[in-house]
Amino acid sequence: MLRLRATFEKSGRAKYISHLDLNRCMLRIFRRSKLPVWYTEGFNPHPYYSFALALSLGFESSCEIMDFNITDDNMSLDVIKDRLNEVMPEGMGIVAIAPQIKKITAIAKAEYEFELKSDDVQGMYKAVEELLSAPEILIEKKTKKGIKTVDLKPDTEIVKLEIAEGAVRIAMRLPAGTKTNYNPTLFTEALKKSCEIPFEMVNIRRTGILCENNEKFS
């Protein structure tokens, strides 16, 4: 059996597919592909596949990760990739397929890119810089146990901060995986509190799923 890990793209109209719907969508993709995908052996057998991280509704991504198994050991990875790509909906596509190397628990961070659109871009840029230089970035986060206040400051790594095409463009790394998951909207919520300028967060895209040492998870 081939234990495989697919990296896939989810963008354009496909960003409106919710995580729950993505599950159903993937089931149908596997069925349409007619690949010898491994089925679970329980009471209600279904193709086995598992997503590494959930992606928020409305976010694009070029690096989503899904594990699945193929029962035919002799199948080429290129053939599997092509057969899946043939039956994917608009906006979705397999970027790469490779054997599973690390354990899912090795995921520690995710990298996001987004833009803040505003009539006062310069002012926005300054507001972001100010927030980032504050001693702490406190924000209320909904968790399973209720609302709790977290400090984003120690865990936020800024990769890029620039003005481009009339917007402030930011790339940042945030904790992700089995322990802590921070959504970049937490950061913009904090920004909404600290700055007076109205803005809109657009073109949100996950660009990387990383291990603790910033190495790409694979």
Partner: protein, 614 residues
């Protein structure tokens, strides 16, 4: 900002945004420039409901199978998105190319249910298309059309539509689009097109027909202008086994009501239950061969990736080769790990072998439509089901491991007495007693008998089209009587809202004078009337009052046999004489055998020019 950007700017503010952006697998996006005629197929309810509709899937694929035709889908936005659309000047648009519906040549609605009429008006308004047909441009564009079961009496919608398509659309829709293409090239205008269209069999152009009324409110006479035919006959597909069927469905991202492959196995019904409109307007009875059904099932499952398939028909077990068909299908679905579901199974021909086959497929609840609580009433409505048959089927089901049964009944049927209502509770009790009397019944489970009670709605093109509906007060009294007659907690009773049923009766049997009521109700905020959370009966009553129309005239009045009914000029191939004969027979509590046993002379074989069973 283009329309797509405008939509996307607000999409994250609404529930289930994937319903409003298209891009689904199986959707057909064509180049506008390389097609001649465009058709916006509109379903007057939300995406979740409309995407489940099999007729729309058929016609969507059919139109798009023609190289020079383009068909795109459109559904009613839910209230949250409607608000955003109105606030941000987003016009009603199609899902394939996100193009405003007002730019299409045809705006075609399928009318499945009377309580979706206000949604049509709302969608036209959102599209920026004049709501009344008379207010539309004289140019040849924006032809607003409707088909579906409700257009067998389209009079309450007559002022809003340019034309109605009667009967099955697989041939006539293409003929209509061809005519449009030809006349557009010739530079014809709307009226010229409609005159020609009215000559196509099955096309009803309401503006060419005028009605006058007697002092008592009934129709005095109908006059015809513009050389339109005095009788408009519905269309049927003669060679049903070879009729077009889609090779692919649009596969939604979000979960819809019927989220599976459906394959139509037969059309029409041999039964002739006297309350049932579908049983008459879809005649004649026609079947697909087991091979065709198998091929269509396999093709659709492979192309869509669905792991569930359902057989669609009015009564699947009436298929003459049901055993062969199921054997073939179950072999395939079991090997491919596909669930097969079989709705619409009748009580009387439910054999042990059939149950065995279904059990292999899956174990869900069993549902029987008994409709009447006593044998006398079941005979009146021609539901040819005896109590012994119900009991023997339940016995097989209980012995086969089922412990819950759902029973459908109707309340307010013609000739109904309190005895019939009490009979519903007694029948449910006897089924429960039967369960406890069975030695090898399922152990450790509590049985449940669910009784679901709808209110009888008299419908056009049925033997009961002449019958009055019970008043609200009477229905509520009967509902209470039923509740009081049930003695066991294992029998659960549920019933429909009688207000909804009354409005349904008015709109089903109404004439043109109701157009103003529908318009007024919509203006006063009515829409999604079939959704209990949106239904505003009080507003509807106000609209009736404002327009000076008495709903009871339509719902609660008995029509004489010689009265001109609002749908008498439409020919659904079953004769009025037959309905009168059947109505008289009903009042003597005598049944009529099903079409396979004996032809009852409804007229469809003559009109269709073919024998029903050959």
């Amino acid at each position: 900002m283009n329309l797509k950007e405008k939509i996307e700017k607000h999409l994250m503010e609404v529930q289930k945004p994937s319903r409003y952006i298209g891009g689904e697998v199986g959707s057909i996006v064509k180049d506008k420039a390389s097609t001649d005629v465009s058709f916006a197929f509109c379903f007057p309810d939300t995406y979740d409901i409309g995407m489940s509709h099999i007729g729309m899937k058929i016609l969507y694929s059919l139109i798009n199978s023609r190289e020079n035709f383009r068909c795109e889908r459109c559904y009613a936005p839910d209230v949250d998105f409607e608000k955003i659309m109105r606030e941000n000047d987003i016009p009603l648009y199609s899902l394939e190319s996100l193009e405003p519906v007002r730019d299409f040549d045809f705006i075609g609605f399928t009318m499945q249910y009377e309580l979706s009429y206000t949604n049509v008006l709302n969608m036209l308004d959102l599209a920026g298309i004049p709501i009344f047909a008379k207010d539309r441009t004289s140019e040849l564009t924006q032809i607003v059309a409707a088909g579906g079961p409700c257009v067998c009496n389209p009079e309450p919608l007559a002022d809003f539509f340019d034309l109605f398509i009667l009967g099955e659309g697989e041939e006539v829709n293409l003929e209509l689009m061809e005519l449009f293409n030809e006349m557009k090239k010739q530079g014809a205008d709307r009226l010229e097109f409609l005159r020609k269209a009215a000559q196509i069999e099955g096309i009803y152009v309401p503006r060419f027909y005028n009605f006058s009324y007697k002092a008592d409110g009934t129709i005095e006479k109908m006059t015809v202008t513009d050389n339109a035919p005095t009788k408009i006959t519905k269309r049927i597909i003669k060679d049903f086994d070879n009729v077009f069927y889609p090779e692919n469905f649009v596969v939604p991202f979000t979960e819809i009501v019927h989220d599976r492959v459906s394959v139509e196995v037969l059309r029409g019904c041999i039964r002739g239950c006297r309350f049932c409109q579908a049983g008459f307007i879809y005649r004649p009875f026609r079947e697909k061969s087991p091979d065709t059904i198998y091929n269509e099932t396999k093709c659709l499952c492979e192309n869509t990736g669905y792991d569930e398939v359902s057989l669609a028909s009015l009564s699947t077990s009436d298929h003459s080769q049901i055993d062969e068909m199921l054997t073939k299908l179950i072999d395939y679905t079991a090997a491919e790990r596909i669930n097969l579901s079989l709705p619409s199974l009748r009580v009387d021909n439910f054999t042990e072998e059939l149950l065995e086959k279904i059990k292999k497929v899956r174990k869900s609840g069993l549902t029987f439509a008994a409709e009447g609580g006593t044998q006398r009433l079941r005979d009146v409505i021609n539901k040819n089901v005896t109590e012994e048959e119900i009991m023997s089927t339940c016995k097989i089901a209980f012995e086969g491991g089922y412990s819950s049964v759902k029973l459908y009944f109707m309340m307010g049927l013609p000739t109904e007495t309190d005895e019939d209502i009490i009979g519903i509770a007694e029948l449910a009790q006897r089924i429960l007693d039967l369960y406890y009397s069975i030695e090898n019944r399922p152990k450790g489970r509590s049985p449940q008998i669910s009784v679901s009670c709808a209110t009888f709605v008299p419908k056009p093109f049925t033997p009961f089209q002449f019958e009055p509906q019970d008043t609200r007060a009477e229905i509520e009294r009967k509902q209470k009587l039923l509740l009081d007659s049930v003695k066991s907690k294992k029998i659960k009773v549920s019933y429909h809202d009688s207000d909804v049923s009354q409005l349904e009766a008015v709109l089903a049997k109404g004439d043109r004078r109701l157009c103003d009521v529908v318009y007024t109700a919509w203006q006063m905020g009515c829409r999604f009337d079939s959704w209990s959370e949106h239904f505003k009966f009080g507003t509807w009553l106000e609209a009736f009052e404002k327009c000076g129309v008495d709903p009871a005239f339509y719902a609660n009045r008995k029509a004489e046999y010689d009265e001109i009914l609002p749908w008498d000029h439409l020919d659904y191939m079953v004769t009025k004489e037959f309905f009168i004969r059947e109505n008289k027979t009903a009042h003597t509590a005598v049944t009529t055998p099903n079409c396979r046993q004996k032809c009852s002379g409804c007229g469809v074989n003559k009109a269709a020019g073919r024998d029903c069973f050959c």
